[in-house]
């Protein structure tokens, strides 16, 4: 086993232990707990928080991927060309909106709970994927496109068999950026009463219980790092296969 | 005079350049020819110490380069490379004056030198000084690259495939320009190329390298008429050799008295051109003129006898 894979196994095991058997870590967190306070977060099961956190991220990201890729395909077709400059501006300027602000602004419209978090993650998540897919589809090697036309592929066939596969590494980069932001923003979602791991951290901040902050921070940090790593691996793999390292 | 003395460069236990010795006379052009991987660029880059020799010595006018500070040495040696390597964010004038500025020349002197060089390369200073490299054609960029290399009047000009990025027509003109400027300034030039045609056209001396070794060093005529190895013969291009040889000689060298029919040829034309005209127009002799007045003729017979001097090696 390579050193990187060994490290991955360790991190995954640590994460599972933190989520499933948090009481094993009580001696470690003890010194961070104020006198008389509870050491290990027990208001809700960490497993249910983790699943709900990842669930919100997964649903929002999946929807964002579908919408973003479809939109990017539309604006890079000849019929949608008029919308391309506008799309670039929206993608560029839209990403300057802070994710937290998007989340906070969704509350007045949707109330508290998972709803505004889902919508904020979805809306914000679209932009990086949209931008990267757009770039990927509009910067294909001209010789390859010429060849695809030359061998008689229809527009649809070109899109499915040539353009999307070639743009895939860039699309995956967009997805990675988007998912990592979503994991972070979902954490803040607990301030608007979404059921996520942010709850643990917020509870710690409100009661000055550092051990809660550390538990929540560690779990969500490890999830983020592992998912980032997995998506990077996937990206490297597709790049290698396409020979565009 | 540049002396390369038994110089060797070893990379990972393999010799890229192996025990090469050669002497380059001042005010001449020496062309180093070889295929890619022959070590010709490494040899060139050891002279301004962009690559440090493993063993051996380079002397410029008797002074070993190893003893000089690297950057001071490089500022004394002009360096022009394929694709010119101009600084894209500097104007033409600033590019050309790069080395004089490094040497701390006075502003007025730099200004005058830039103008002088631009004029030498037929680029009116008023028009070109303040342009950026991206606003020039490929040929102009290449000329600025050479002008930059010549700016501080270096002892020696090193050129690594200087015309490599140019298309054939501009290339021929650039070669002619270089030849003219070298004759005007009396510069010493060491030039690396993979193109034997170019080496023969430009070089007073041609050095052929193969697998890190110097296999032959001589005048173009020697290289063509008497290739030292199979490899050199191949580089010179078997069947083309008589034609290459003829291209080195001018009509005036086999001029005979007499007259001939048809359009005259200038005495500076090469025998290759003369042969071509004979064959195309079906004549066996051509009139030759100097400054527009007839001075004699050249015959197909004479041309042929010059081309027959060649024998296969071994």
């Amino acid at each position: 086993m390579s050193r990187a894979n060994f490290l991955r196994v360790i991190v995954v095991s640590l994460l599972f232990a933190l989520v499933l058997q948090p009481e094993w870590f009580a001696p470690i967190f003890e010194p961070f707990t104020p006198p008389g306070a509870v050491v290990i977060y027990d208001r809700t099961s960490l497993l249910s928080l983790s699943l709900s956190h990842l669930g919100i991220v997964a649903v929002a990201s999946l929807a964002a991927i579908i919408v973003a890729v479809l939109l990017a395909i539309l604006v890079t077709r000849p019929q949608g060309k008029a919308f391309l400059p506008l799309s670039r501006t929206i993608a560029n300027m839209g990403q300057t909106f802070p994710p937290v602000a998007v989340l906070a602004l969704a509350v007045p419209m949707l109330g508290f709970g998972a709803g505004p978090t889902l919508v904020a993650l979805f809306l914000y998540g679209i932009l990086p994927i949209f931008e990267n897919t757009m770039t990927g589809l509009s910067t294909l090697p001209p010789a390859t496109m010429e060849a695809a036309r030359g061998i008689g592929l229809s527009r649809r066939q070109r899109l499915i068999q040539v353009e999307l596969p070639l743009a895939l590494p860039l699309i995956l980069t967009g997805i990675r950026l988007s998912v990592v932001i979503a994991i972070g923003t979902a954490t803040i979602g607990s301030t608007v009463a979404a059921h996520t791991l942010g709850e643990v951290i917020i509870a710690g901040l409100l009661t000055n219980n550092t051990s809660y902050v550390l538990q929540g921070g560690l779990i969500v940090g490890l999830f983020a790092v592992l998912i980032y790593d997995a998506l990077t691996q996937l990206e490297t793999h597709t790049r290698k296969r396409l020979g565009v390292m | 005079m540049i002396e390369i003395d038994n110089i060797t460069k070893i990379y990972d236990g393999r010799a890229a350049v192996e025990a090469v010795s050669m002497t380059i006379e001042s005010a001449t052009i020496t062309a180093i020819v070889g295929t890619s991987g022959s070590g010709k660029s490494t040899l060139l880059r050891m002279i301004n110490r962009l690559v440090e020799p493993t063993t051996g010595q380079v002397r410029i006018n008797g002074e070993p380069t190893a003893g000089l500070p690297k950057n001071a040495l490089r500022r004394r040696i002009g360096y022009a490379i394929q694709g010119h390597g101009l600084f894209p964010h500097h104007t033409v004038a600033k590019n050309i004056s790069a080395v004089p500025r490094l040497l701390g020349w006075h502003k007025d002197k730099i200004h005058a030198r830039v103008n002088e060089l631009l004029e030498l390369f037929s680029m009116p200073p008023d028009e070109f000084r303040d342009r950026y490299p991206a606003e020039l054609s490929g040929g102009q960029q290449q000329r600025v690259g050479v002008a930059r290399a010549l700016a501080s009047r270096p002892d020696l000009l090193l050129m690594d495939e200087p015309f490599g990025a140019l298309d054939p027509i501009i290339r021929t003109r650039a070669q002619a320009d270089l030849h003219r400027i070298q004759r005007t300034l009396g510069s010493t030039i060491l030039l690396v190329t993979h193109d034997m045609e170019e080496a023969i056209q430009l070089g007073d001396q041609v050095a052929v390298m193969d697998q890190g070794q110097l296999v032959q060093h001589g005048t173009p005529a020697e290289i063509i008429t008497n290739p030292a190895t199979e490899f050199v013969a191949e580089m010179v291009g078997g069947v083309d050799r008589p034609l290459r040889l003829l291209s080195l000689l001018s009509v005036s060298q086999i001029l005979e008295n007499g007259t001939a029919e048809g359009d005259p040829l200038d005495e500076k034309s090469s025998l290759r051109e003369a042969l071509s005209v004979c064959l195309w127009s079906g004549r066996s002799a051509l009139p030759v003129e100097r400054n527009g007045s007839p001075i004699g003729r050249v015959t197909l017979e004479a041309i042929r006898s010059r081309a027959e001097g060649t024998h296969e090696p071994g």
Binding site: T89, Q95, T96, A104, T191 | I81, H84, F87
Partner: protein, 389 residues
């Protein structure tokens, strides 16, 4: 649609016009009995008397209509300005007239119709501008004019009847403190990150081994969710404050400005270092070989060749950092670090929408202004040859 019309009418313009007309039917303002309860939506034609409404609505429709012709981009841009001016007029008239006789605690807030129309008109402006593609100087001028005009409108007091400005009036001092704190967090951390990141980037450029060690660590740190990072900084600094003698006196405590500042610096390092390395590598190999061959020292090559050529990429890194930090500084509000986040989270706690807006809107505007300014700087830093194309 026949092709002839298609080429005359701008596709986005048509979309904006249709969406805009629909948005006119959505509640333009909302009227609530007090600042906490949800308001009642009021449609645009009901917000004031006809003498105020008709010019406003006509202005919006004209603005949308001017967005239609595809050939005249400056007309389209003018249309967006006309439309936005009409919106402001409607707000001024509507907020005052709705409050008349509605009680002391009554509040008028911005409705979905207003937000949609504003977004549509801004998109129209952006679409027209992206086709006009003004140069960096023109863009700076436009930005300056936009800022000055907005400031004048706010200054004039014409909009003070709106709920968000009531919230502002109630905490004017706190607002400016928060603004300074927010700027201090975002720009201060940028300066510190640049001071550490540039030299680190230069070393990483020179030393492959160092780069292989530093960049993965920084991208790992970047991945950690912000709330977790801010949270972890608190115990860390509290520990430093209580263990290292003298640290507490220097202000190193677990809560407040410092943990937020430090977290922002850590997040900023990756873009600064990675873009410095990328910028230094932007110099073509041949250019660098020529510089070396003519006897430039390493320092001269760095200063005269690599830095000027890499500057746009490095500035692009600072743009990422600045925009990112302005957004992340909101989280500081959760850990007592101050800034606009304070209002956002107070607003969320009190379910007071306009207090949330009072925190979120300045953050968004600040981020947009910074992004546009940095984009202009990046373009100005681009070496001439690229601008000439």
């Amino acid at each position: 649609m026949p092709n002839r019309i298609k080429s005359v009418v701008s596709g986005p313009g048509l979309l904006f016009a249709s969406l805009g007309l629909v948005a006119l039917f959505a509640p333009f303002l909302t009227l609530a009995a007090n600042r906490i309860v949800a308001g009642e939506g009021v449609r645009v034609w009901d917000v004031a008397g006809p003498e105020a409404i008709i010019p406003g609505m006509v202005g919006v429709v004209i603005g949308l209509a001017l967005g239609l012709p595809s050939a005249w981009q400056s007309v389209r841009f003018t249309g967006s300005l006309v439309g936005i001016a009409a919106l402001v007029w409607l707000l001024m008239q509507g907020s005052t007239s709705l409050l008349e006789g509605a009680g002391t605690y009554a509040r008028v807030s911005l409705g979905s119709g207003f937000w949609c129309l504003l977004a549509i008109l801004l998109l129209l402006a952006a679409d027209a501008l992206s086709s006009l593609s003004p140069g960096p100087k023109m863009r700076s001028a436009l930005l300056a004019v936009a800022i000055i005009v907005s400031a004048l409108v706010l200054w004039s007091g014409a909009l003070t009847d709106l709920s968000i400005f009531r919230e502002y009036a109630n905490r004017q001092d706190a607002f400016f403190n928060a603004a300074w704190r927010h700027l201090g967090l975002a720009f201060g951390s940028l300066v510190v990150a640049a001071a550490i990141g540039f030299p680190l980037g230069v070393y990483c450029h020179r030393n492959q081994g160092l780069r292989g060690a530093v960049l993965p660590v920084l991208s790992f740190l970047q991945t950690i969710p912000s709330l977790a990072m801010f949270g972890i900084m608190i115990p860390l600094l509290a520990w430093v404050g209580s263990t290292i003698p003298g640290a507490r006196e220097l202000g190193v405590v677990g809560i407040g400005f410092l943990p937020a500042f430090l977290a922002l610096v850590i997040y900023s390092l990756l873009p600064v270092v990675a873009n410095t390395v990328a910028g230094l590598e932007a110099t073509p190999i041949l250019t660098l070989d020529a510089a070396r061959g003519m006897g430039m020292t390493r320092h001269q090559r760095l200063k005269q060749i690599q830095l000027p050529l890499g500057l746009p990429v490095m500035l692009a890194g600072l743009r990422i950092v600045l925009v990112q930090n302005i957004g992340l500084a909101v989280i500081a509000g959760l850990i007592g670090g101050g800034g606009f986040g304070t209002f956002v989270f107070q607003g969320l706690n009190q379910t007071a929408t306009d207090l949330i807006l009072l925190g979120a809107l300045p953050t968004v505007i600040l981020a947009l202004i910074s992004a546009i300014t940095m984009d202009i700087l990046v373009e100005l830093a681009r070496p001439n040859q690229m601008r000439h194309g």
